[in-house]
């Protein structure tokens, strides 16, 4: 009940008008030479001490990428990217994978603290009694530019049999697992950006939950781009073995810069019989300034494969950042009775361009999916929901429910809904609802007449609009998301 009140208070206490994660950490870094070539890929692979097959895998992707071209179907508009003018690898200098937090550069720890992710504290807390429900434990993997700098709670997870580590480390310690699943959901040649990622991916998280294990805490990765002119290409691979469960959270920020920066990640989820992955994202990359200068190009491929029967994947995303977002977390519903969910809040303000949505591919019998998308456009931004729901011939009894709502703030922004529906069998049941509304002056006045300031009134109305989705987020993340929503909409009215 007090959630709205809390938001309103939190909004009040937050610095106005600033992207508060826009600082830069002064730290010496080691980079690969500028541009992309086989040498650079060999350099990255060598830095990570990867097995030979991994290098070959990357080189194969690179050669295929050379013959691919960028997709142009999304409703986004940006100047041609010069892929030779980027750095593909940057690591804090003298970087050697740390054994414990004490070995992590204090500057980096400070950075994460500024971001509100006190890694050290998280681990210290593990040793003390925390009252039930007061502060849930979250294991954190922190990725700084191209490398993972710290993973917490390693020991405790190990005891449960859970593997949670940087993917570069997993390649050395669990090569068979990685080899078995990497690229099995998003093939190397899936799309231009995914292929690029396959060639140059630097780091990211690897998670394996063994059969029957309910992961004892939420797992979380924070991504941070710090270096200038550096692309971030992380790769995340999560496998939930039969009957297991994991909730995974992902957060992202970047310094405020005038140049655009490229972020092209790939996330693959594999869910076996009766297992479940809940994947939540709060994406807050730097969106650029009000005139559209700077900001992250966020071109991300996220896909989950419900490989086992009665398996389940739930994507929840709160997208507030990035100059351009191109992102469609999807589910392949292969196992009989499997289900996929997509809950999304996508906010655009200023000159941001969002083209986001999901794909629910029903292959197995009695598969179900649910899509709830809330798009909020303000300023001079453009916000597109693009979604595909398809049922294969064999997907008898497939069912989907889609609800897509758009809220417009002001009259210079755009909201678009592009649903694609393909049913190859007559027994599939698809339902689609869509609404577009404008935040009305009358509604704001009503709230203000009861004592709310204009900003609080906007926050309240927007929070009401996105409530169905916010409820899907883990508690701590929901609070953070509410804050972000309010910050991203600051100055959007009046």
């Amino acid at each position: 009940m007090a959630a709205v009140q809390e938001t309103v208070e939190q909004v009040r206490s937050i610095d106005v008008d600033q992207y508060k994660y826009g600082f830069e950490t002064q730290i010496e870094s080691e980079k690969a030479p500028k541009g992309l070539s086989e040498e650079v890929i060999r350099f990255i692979s060598a830095k990570k001490e990867e097995p030979e097959w991994m290098l070959e895998w990357r080189l194969d992707a690179y050669r295929r990428w050379l013959n691919m071209s960028e997709p142009t179907w999304a409703r986004v508009d940006f100047p041609q990217i010069d892929f030779q003018d980027l750095y593909y690898y940057a690591a804090p200098k003298k970087f050697k994978a740390p054994k414990s937090l004490d070995e992590v550069d204090p500057e980096i720890l400070k950075t994460y603290e500024k971001l509100g992710i006190p890694l050290r504290e998280q681990e210290i807390l593990a040793g003390v009694e925390v009252p039930e429900g007061e502060r849930p434990k979250i294991a954190v993997d922190a990725v700084f530019d191209s490398v993972s700098v710290a993973t917490t709670f390693k020991e405790e997870l190990k005891a449960a049999g859970v593997i949670f580590m940087p993917i570069s480390e997993a390649l050395r310690e669990h090569p068979d697992l990685v080899k078995k699943y990497l690229g099995s959901v998003v093939p190397t040649t899936d799309n231009f950006y995914a292929t690029l990622n396959s060639a140059v991916f630097s780091d990211g998280s690897f998670v394996y939950i063994p059969p029957g294990v309910r992961c004892p805490m939420e797992l979380s990765t924070y991504f941070r781009i710090n270096e200038k002119n550096t692309g971030q290409f992380e790769r995340t691979l999560i496998i939930a073995d039969a009957g297991s469960y994991v909730s995974y959270l992902e957060g992202c920020t970047a310094p405020q810069r005038d140049e655009n920066q490229l972020h092209a990640a790939v996330v693959e989820l594999v869910v076996l019989d009766d297992a479940e992955i809940k994947y939540s994202t709060v994406q807050n990359w730097y969106p650029g300034d009000a005139e559209g200068k700077g900001g992250i190009y966020n071109f991300v491929t996220k896909r989950g494969d419900c490989r086992g029967k009665n398996s389940k994947i739930s994507w929840t995303q709160v997208e507030t950042g990035s100059a351009i977002t191109w992102k469609y977390p999807s589910c392949v519903l292969r196992g009989e009775g499997s289900s996929g969910e997509f809950y999304s809040i996508a906010i655009s303000n200023g000159r941001q361009q969002v083209d986001s949505g999901t794909k629910m591919i029903h292959l197995g019998k009695n598969t179900t999916s649910r899509i709830i998308s809330k798009g909020i456009s303000a300023g001079r931004s453009n916000n597109t929901y693009r979604g595909l729901v398809s049922a294969h011939k064999k997907a008898l009894g497939a069912r989907n429910f889609t609800n897509c709502d758009s809220l417009l703030i002001g009259d210079q922004c755009g909201a678009h809904t592009v649903p694609y529906i393909e049913a190859k069998n007559p027994k599939a049941q698809f339902e689609h609802e869509a609404t577009t509304s404008k935040i009305s002056e009358d509604m704001l006045f009503y709230c203000m007449q009861r004592g709310l300031s204009q900003e609080d009134a906007v926050a309240l109305v927007v929070n009401g609009f996105v409530r169905d989705v916010l409820q899907q987020l883990p508690m701590e993340f929901a609070v953070e998301a509410q804050k972000l929503i309010s910050i991203s909409l600051e100055g959007s009215v009046g």
Binding site: M1, V8, F445, M448, R450, L460
Partner: protein, 253 residues
């Protein structure tokens, strides 16, 4: 006695459009209940919007003093915190925001602006439940999103609930009786009467004498063509019911 509200020679128009309020004068003392009656389109609702600061209206002359301050300089939320409450003729719906959360946010926003201690959740819930009982508003309605799917009568009860919780010095009730059945009318009037006190005042806009049987006014005004053209005691309402506004409309022209 210092008046609670003083309107002096007020002129207002729809931004970039027609002039609606036309040299209006009115003084309300603490504790008084004033009724305003007048023909459709005379500008009664407009007056309530101008007083509460709704965007889209422009004051072109005159002044309004409320509790010693220049009301026209304040933003709508500051006016609310000063103790001005508008009971809407058509209350707005706010999807996804529970009634209880809205009440909590509103009450504490006002308290904060006034530098008063905020209500804790249990305090608020207790208060709201008590008031709800008096107005026939059950817990289910408190959990539902603000006014969404409420019947006309339920919306008016909900407005009354907000008013009783926020304890304003001046309540402007714009056709609080429209859409109410007899029982609801009694319930709402009863709530309003509970609010009457030596320091609280009301401005009751209505078309029907019937409401004034329940909320008995000290003063009745006839409002036509953007200003008050005649003032009398509570018997004036009965008179108007018999004669209509024809004579006053001539007067206003």
């Amino acid at each position: 006695m210092t008046p609670l509200l003083e309107i002096r020679d007020l002129h207002a128009e729809i931004a970039g459009g027609r002039k609606i309020i036309n040299g209006m004068n009115l003084t309300i003392n603490p504790g008084e209940v004033h009724a305003i009656m007048g023909p459709n389109g005379a500008g009664k609702s407009t007056l309530s919007y101008v007083l509460s600061g709704k965007p889209g209206y422009e004051v072109t002359g005159g002044e309004v003093i409320f509790r010693g301050v220049n009301l026209l300089e304040l933003s709508p939320d500051e006016r609310a915190a000063q103790g001005l409450f508008l009971c809407f003729q058509y209350p707005l719906e706010i999807p996804g925001v529970s009634n209880m959360a809205f009440l909590h946010t509103a009450a504490n926003s006002q308290r904060k602006q006034r530098g008063e201690p905020e209500l804790t959740s249990p305090e608020l819930v207790r208060k709201v439940r008590e008031l709800g009982k008096k107005l026939g508003i059950d817990t289910d309605m408190l959990k539902r999103p603000v006014n969404v799917g409420f019947s006309g009568g339920e919306k008016k009860r909900n407005e009354t609930l907000q008013m009783m919780l926020l304890e304003p010095y001046l309540s402007i009730l714009d056709e609080a009786d429209s859409g109410l059945d007899i029982d609801a009318l009694k319930v709402v009037s009863n709530g309003v009467n509970l609010m009457r006190s030596p320091e609280r005042s009301m401005l009751v806009i209505t078309h029907y004498q019937r409401l004034l049987d329940y909320i008995v006014p000290d003063v009745v005004h006839v409002f036509a063509a953007g200003r008050i053209v005649h003032t009398g005691g509570k018997e004036l309402a009965l008179e108007l019911e018999a004669t209509g506004y024809a004579q006053y409309q001539n007067e206003a022209a």
